[in-house]
Amino acid sequence: MLKAQINPHFFFNTLNNIYSYTLSDGDVARRAITNLSKMMRYVLYDTQGGLTPLTKETAFISDYIELMRLRLSTKTKIDYDVPTQINVHMIAPMLFLPLIENAFKHGVSNITEGTITIKVFQSANSIVLTVTNPYYEVKRSNEDKSNGIGLLNTTKRLELLYPGKYTLITGPINKTLYEAKLTLIL
């Protein structure tokens, strides 16, 4: 069965950061534990049914981004923009995360500065997610064999869940930016 999951590396690295914050800043540690709990609850229970409210998916992404902020150096900025008034759209859960994870996997450098942009647009019958990240033409060492599996899995899920009613375009849009754009027709 094709089910999206949280990357275990994200999970353990986040726990390591929380451990560190328990020694330095209890407030941050406590907030991080709540973020992580909400994410786990969503993955364990809310994604079992077929569809989920868009608000839950975006809240899940917010929690993820808040935890990623704790992990990143000041070199990477995150620009996250979700409409505050969200229609009561229902969507298949966990379709957004793989695209956002990819941006963090490939678009982060500790040497050069960069921004990861995540935007959600909605209309009466469609939802658009746009994710952009700095693009490095030279393939870097940590981009191992697992490369592309997340995206492949997402495409398979989209084919099953939104046949003929989605577009997913990924690739560099210029020399310095890579973009993933997912459109779902509801």
């Binding site: 353990f12 950061n17 451990y19 560190s20 020694l23 330095s24 040497i111 870097r140 060492s141």
Partner: protein, 153 residues
């Protein structure tokens, strides 16, 4: 014996934790904490480093690659490497680059202390093996199969 060490991790919070643990160990002195492999290589070239606490999954240059570069140099007092990572599938790679220990995130002080002790033993062994050098001036002669054999002490 006092060991000069450095902490390398792309995540600032993970570095904080490493530095905290290092400060709690009497025989470790923290030389620097670094957030990427490139800067780290420069630091290692210019300073005396005995132990490296090294994250594996980092952008720009991975910990495994950094370790390979250091191993490839074949210098006499290569620093001891302790990997710190959330990925246990890299353990085997770690052995190939002669890592002294492998800490799986999240790890506590006890585990860190164990790794630090291993690094200390490793460094002591290295020093001892360096100090045992054959001396040409002191030799013993043994008769082996009715032939005289000269053995330096």
């Amino acid at each position: 014996m006092i060991l000069n060490c450095i902490a390398i991790d792309d995540e600032p919070t993970a570095i904080d934790l490493l530095c905290r643990f290092i400060q709690q160990i009497p025989f470790l002195i923290l030389g620097a904490s670094l957030s990427n492999g490139i800067e780290s290589l420069r630091y290692i070239n210019e300073n005396n480093v005995d132990v490296i606490f090294l994250d594996i999954q980092m952008p720009d240059l991975s910990g495994i690659e950094l370790a390979r570069i250091l191993k490839g140099r074949n210098t006499i007092n290569a620093p001891a490497i302790v990997f710190t990572t959330a990925f246990d599938q890299f353990a085997l790679e770690g052995y190939k680059v002669d890592a002294v220990d492998y800490l799986l995130k999240p790890f506590g002080y006890q585990e860190f202390l164990r790794a630090a002790n291993k690094a200390l033993k490793w460094a002591e062994l290295n020093v001892n093996s360096l100090s045992i050098k054959p001396n040409d001036k002191v030799v013993i002669y043994l008769k082996v199969n009715s032939q005289k054999v000269k053995i330096p002490c």
